[in-house]
């Protein structure tokens, strides 16, 4: 009992310290960029009190915006206080899916920066089937999701195929594909097919009721069935990687492509299949976002989901379970960030900084040990990617 407890403590010590360091640094930035705090720089005690208060308020707002806010229960039932938690989950849902997309790619040795573009095509496909057709209730959702996944799968699989056939590095390819997808959605929202009657801004018609994902906790909370889809997807990825021959091939190529090839595994197949499945996952994220929360395609549908997916996957160490938790954490940061910005005036972009710092410290265990003067335990294999020579 004590042994496993100490092992757990050991395992959690480094990530815990990384988090602490990241949040502390973020607190510094919040405090020392505030003009009120800076104006007190003359008297050190006042300065520190003010800095602490500013950072403290910001973090309180972060909590209130992501987990629970007692103020919201006024005039409603107790559960309304959990509106922030529901928001966290709503944001985390597509993040889980895009995070899985990046995580799965890492397992095959690929760095899928293209989740953003794949998400966009998923959203486009789901949106079109959602508003253009009339289908019975469950079938409509499935059809719309599948349409999105198919488009996104092609968008992603193309990268895998190009890499397999030409050796081009997926980092450059996916970044470029993201920009192209970004412009594509701007264009498509202007076409007659996608223009919502009566509006001139780039927004598509709302998806029909039959295509929407049901809400889970009443009309006042936005949490929807998409979270179940996301969790099922995480289960699927776990199953694929650990229990199937396909996942075996993916992992072999990711760990040592040369040896895998020499043993007869087809590397081109793995590259293409991986990117196709990853595309489908990110596309599902886009579909879920449209069918579950936004209900209509707009220019900003992808937000920063594709981008955040990478930090999520890195934090989750490319494991399905870790990715789910990381997505929930970063979802909380985003939800809380919005409240923090509106309540305390701290721009929510600081959340990006926190995210980056967390990932940086998690990826550099030697650094955190160095900062906290810890002794080296067993070697911790960091997450790695492949350079240009593959």
């Amino acid at each position: 009992m004590r042994n496993s407890l100490s092992k757990f403590g050991q395992a959690i010590k480094l990530p815990g310290l990384s988090f602490a360091l990241a949040f502390t640094l973020t607190g510094f930035i919040i405090a020392f960029s505030d003009s009120k705090v800076l104006s007190k720089i003359g008297s050190p005690l006042e300065f520190i009190k003010s800095a602490g208060a500013t950072a403290g308020n910001a973090y309180l707002a972060l909590f209130q915006g992501s987990i629970f806010d007692i103020n919201l229960t006024k005039g409603h039932n107790f559960f309304q206080g959990f509106y922030p938690l529901s928001e966290t989950i709503v944001i985390a849902t597509p993040l889980i899916l895009t995070g899985l997309s990046v995580a799965l790619a890492f397992k095959s040795g690929l760095f899928n920066i293209g989740a953003q573009g794949q998400f966009i095509f998923g959203a486009i496909g789901a949106s079109y089937v959602g508003f253009h057709f009339q289908l019975p209730i469950v079938i409509h959702v499935i059809a719309a999701a599948l349409a999105g996944m198919a488009l996104a799968s092609i968008w992603g699989g193309a990268v895998g195929l190009l890499k397999a056939k030409t050796g081009a590095h997926e980092v450059i390819l996916t970044i470029m594909m993201n920009y192209i997808a970004g412009y594509f959605i701007l264009w498509i929202l202007k076409t007659s097919q996608f223009l919502r009657p009566g509006r001139i801004d780039p927004i598509a018609p709302e998806v029909n009721q039959s295509a929407r994902l049901p809400l889970l906790a009443g009309a006042n909370l936005r949490i929807h069935a998409g979270i179940f889809i996301a969790l099922v997807a995480a289960l699927f990825v776990w199953w694929l990687l650990t229990k199937t021959t396909i996942g075996y091939k993916f992992r072999a190529v990711g760990a040592n492509g040369q040896a895998a090839k020499t043993a007869g595994i087809s590397v081109p197949f793995v590259l293409t299949a991986t990117m196709a499945i990853c595309g489908a996952l990110a596309g599902l994220g886009g579909a879920v976002q449209v069918l579950g929360s936004e209900h209509a395609l707009n220019a900003d549908i992808a937000g920063s989901f594709g981008f955040d997916a990478i930090t999520v996957a890195l934090l989750g160490r490319a494991q399905p379970l870790g990715t789910v938790f990381a997505a929930l954490l970063f979802g909380a940061l985003h939800a809380g960030g919005r409240t923090m910005q509106s309540n305390t005036g701290v721009p929510l972009d600081i959340v990006l900084v926190t995210q980056a710092l967390i990932v940086l410290f998690i990826a550099a265990p030697t650094f955190v040990r160095f900062i906290f003067k810890l002794k080296k335990m067993s070697s911790s294999a960091g997450l790695t990617s492949k350079g240009w020579n593959g």
Binding site: I29, S33, F111, I113, L162, T166, G167, A168, H169, V171, I172, L173, I175, M176, M177, Y179, I180, Y183, F184, L186, W187, K190, F307, I310, T311, L314, V346, P347, D349, I350, V351, L352, V353, T354, Q355, A356, L357, V359, L360, A363, A364, T366, F367, F370, G382, L383, T384, S385, K386, G387, W388, N389
Partner: protein
């Protein structure tokens, strides 16, 4: 056609076929099937340089036929060169030029193309790409992958804009810019070299960090207190006496801001240094075979660290371009992926300085062409035009480059004695 042998030959063969087919298509489509109606006017005069020709007016269909004709002849010459086993790059280059000019002549029928302005703008847009690729070049040649070029450019754009605004002097902004780039480099070098963090992931994370910080400070300080923090003065153009008056070449090369002249100097210096000096020899050595360099007494990690910092300084100057050498004010994420295109230029240029510069100029031209055509009003939707630089990048790294060989030890942290 004799038996196809190697992957190199297969790629050359594909290249020749593609260019020949495009020439034929270009000739048929732009010349006969859907020729432009009206005349295309090419303007050669930009400001007050000496005038050789003022303009060239040609019927769009005729012009397309002429240029496509050139590309057809060049394609034939490429096929002949291929069969003789000779280099195909020059005829392919001419053919590409012909196809491109044919397209422009078609697209701009009935309109005016300021050609000199187009080329001058191309060079200008290529400036951050060139600085970025030079930064990447030094890092990668030393064996460190630098994905954080985007972050370096953005950070230095921010710092130079802010400093110039606070001091009301563009010059201070220019001086502060490299420092910002070097700061990002310092983080990259420390975590990659001292703590052996995976370099691709590290570069990406640094980019996110810079975006987060600059966006945050932009909202917190630059927007509410714009007059103090975000009104940077800009550099004016410096006209080189006499040289700037040469037709076409003058306005492009000798009528630019100080940042561009710095760029010329830096590119020349790097090319010389990398191949002709002790520093260059050692740099290339640690990128190819760091253990061998170690055995002759070179401190591999110290030199890598130093080089990454130098690269950061260079990228920093490139970031200054965005603010003090053009619009003055900083905008959110204003680099828009230039750091990644610079990386693509580096790969396209096969990690050589001249190659990277050439590739960057090509991308800059694609970008400027797209905005020029949009301005003069062309039938293709603007969103697709905006995609052009990115599509060009994809074509470059997949079709035209083939399997490239980065410096052999690129991205691998050096640990003496290997890992035990």
């Amino acid at each position: 056609m004799s038996e196809i042998r190697s992957s190199v030959e297969k790629r050359r063969f594909r290249g020749v076929i593609v260019i020949a087919s495009l020439s034929v298509l270009s000739f048929m489509y732009f010349g006969f099937i859907r020729p432009g109606k009206g005349d295309t006017t090419y303007g050669f005069v930009l400001n007050n340089e000496w005038v050789l020709i003022k303009e060239w007016i040609i019927a769009s269909a005729t012009g397309a036929k002429i240029f496509s004709g050139i590309s057809l002849i060049a394609s034939v010459s490429a096929i002949l060169a291929f069969r003789k086993g000779r280099e195909i790059i020059i005829p392919v280059g001419f053919a590409s030029f012909g196809i491109l000019m044919s397209f422009i002549t078609w697209a701009a029928s009935g309109k005016f193309i300021p050609l000199t302005g187009l080329l001058q703008g191309a060079l200008l847009l290529a400036v951050p790409l060139i600085f970025g690729s030079m930064s990447g070049l030094i890092c990668e040649r030393s064996g460190v992958i630098n994905i954080a070029i985007e972050g370096q450019l953005l950070a230095s754009a921010f710092v130079s804009g802010v400093v110039a605004s606070l001091t009301h002097q563009a010059l201070w902004g220019l001086i502060a810019a490299p420092i910002a780039g070097a700061a990002i480099s310092f983080l990259l070098a420390t975590f990659a070299i001292k703590f052996s963090v995976d370099q691709v992931i590290l570069g990406f994370v640094l980019n996110v960090l810079v975006i987060g910080l600059t966006d945050f400070l932009y909202k917190k300080l630059l927007v509410p207190y714009q007059s103090t923090w975000n009104t940077a003065p800009t550099f004016g153009k410096i006209e080189v006496p006499i040289l700037s008056k040469i037709p076409i070449l003058g306005p492009i090369f000798f009528s630019q801001t100080i940042v561009v002249y710095l760029m010329f100097a830096i590119v020349a210096a790097i090319t010389f240094a990398l191949f002709k000096t002790k520093w260059g020899l050692r740099t290339r050595a640690i990128g190819e075979h760091p253990t061998a360099a170690d055995t002759v007494g070179i401190d591999v990690n110290k030199l890598r660290f130093k080089n990454v910092i130098i690269a950061g300084l260079i990228a920093g100057v490139g970031g200054a371009y965005y603010t003090v050498a053009s619009v003055g004010a900083f905008g959110k994420e204003m680099t828009a992926g230039a750091g990644f295109i610079a990386l693509a230029a580096l790969i396209f240029g096969k990690w050589s300085p001249i190659g990277a510069v050439f590739a960057a100029l090509l991308f800059g031209f694609a970008d400027n062409l797209q905005s020029t055509l949009t301005i003069i009003g062309v039938s293709i939707p603007s969103e697709f035009m905006l995609m052009v630089p990115y599509i060009a990048t994809i074509i470059a790294v997949t079709g035209l480059v083939g399997r490239v060989r980065a410096p052999a030890a690129d991205g691998i942290p050096y640990l003496r004695g290997g890992s035990h």
